[in-house]
Amino acid sequence: MDFKISELLAREAIILQLTSKEKMSVIQELAEHLVSKNLIVNKDEFLAAIAKRENLESTGIGNGIAIPHARTNAVKNLVLAFGRSEAGVDFSSIDGRPSHLIFMIVSPEEKKSDYIKTLAKISRLMRREEVRSLLRSARQPDEIMDIIKANE
């Protein structure tokens, strides 16, 4: 069964102005936001799963995009969060550029197929410069959702 990113991304999972400047702080900021919306069961386990992957490999895919991701039973359902950083955050991207648009994807262990599909959909969408540009200049969370919906 196919699904859309715009259906997975809730308005309350969007932070238009991340305040953190460093990679793990950004991830923590996004996680705190999800905790406050009851989307995470166990925050420490959640952060440990993301950190494990971040320590092994770069989730900065280039062109100012980072997609930190993990599978963990610290969430009951697939969770997608979006954060934007004006200053940019170092996610050790292969192109050396800081990341301004961050999509965090976390899924329960058993939902591997949906997790992989979500990662694939976002990666494809973010290859497009026009979409990245629109997301960088959006002024409201609803605009972020509309941009994704119109382009996916």
């Binding site: 694939a120 990666s123 494809r124």
Partner: protein
């Protein structure tokens, strides 16, 4: 022989997991990093659109999503073995893309699955080739 940087070339989702297993095993031994590169040739998109009588942009979207799924499946396999990866998707001529990649990322070994593409690289690759 130790290879610090391995390029795993994918051009087909079906064949990717087999060559990925070999690349990961080699990387584990060498403590190497794997650059996973999926290349879609424009001719393939046109051919598929023509065969299926579908709009080329819809076919293009599907092919790219399928490619990214293959990339993330390989990443997941490598993660379980604590092997570092970076994922790359490109469209263009496979041989040219690989040669450019080898040069830009100082690749030491190319891993790919057996097939038509492997025949091209057996003679043209600038680095050693492992055909899985």
């Amino acid at each position: 022989m130790m290879f610090s940087r391995i390029l795993l070339l994918l051009t087909d989702p079906q064949a990717s997991q087999s060559s990925a297993r070999w690349a990961i095993a080699l990387a584990e031994q060498s403590k190497a990093r794997i650059f996973v590169l999926y290349v879609t040739e424009p001719a393939r998109k046109k051919k598929l659109a023509s065969l299926t009588k579908r709009d080329q942009s819809a076919v293009s979207k599907e092919l790219e999503e399928s490619a990214w799924q293959s990339l993330y499946i390989v990443e997941d396999m490598a993660f379980e073995k604590e092997v570092k990866t970076s994922l790359h998707y490109e469209e263009g001529a496979v041989l040219e893309m690989v040669i450019e990649f080898v040069k830009n990322y100082d690749i030491k070994l190319l891993v790919l699955s057996n097939g038509e593409t492997a025949k091209k690289f057996a003679v043209a690759s600038p680095v050693p080739v492992f055909i899985a």
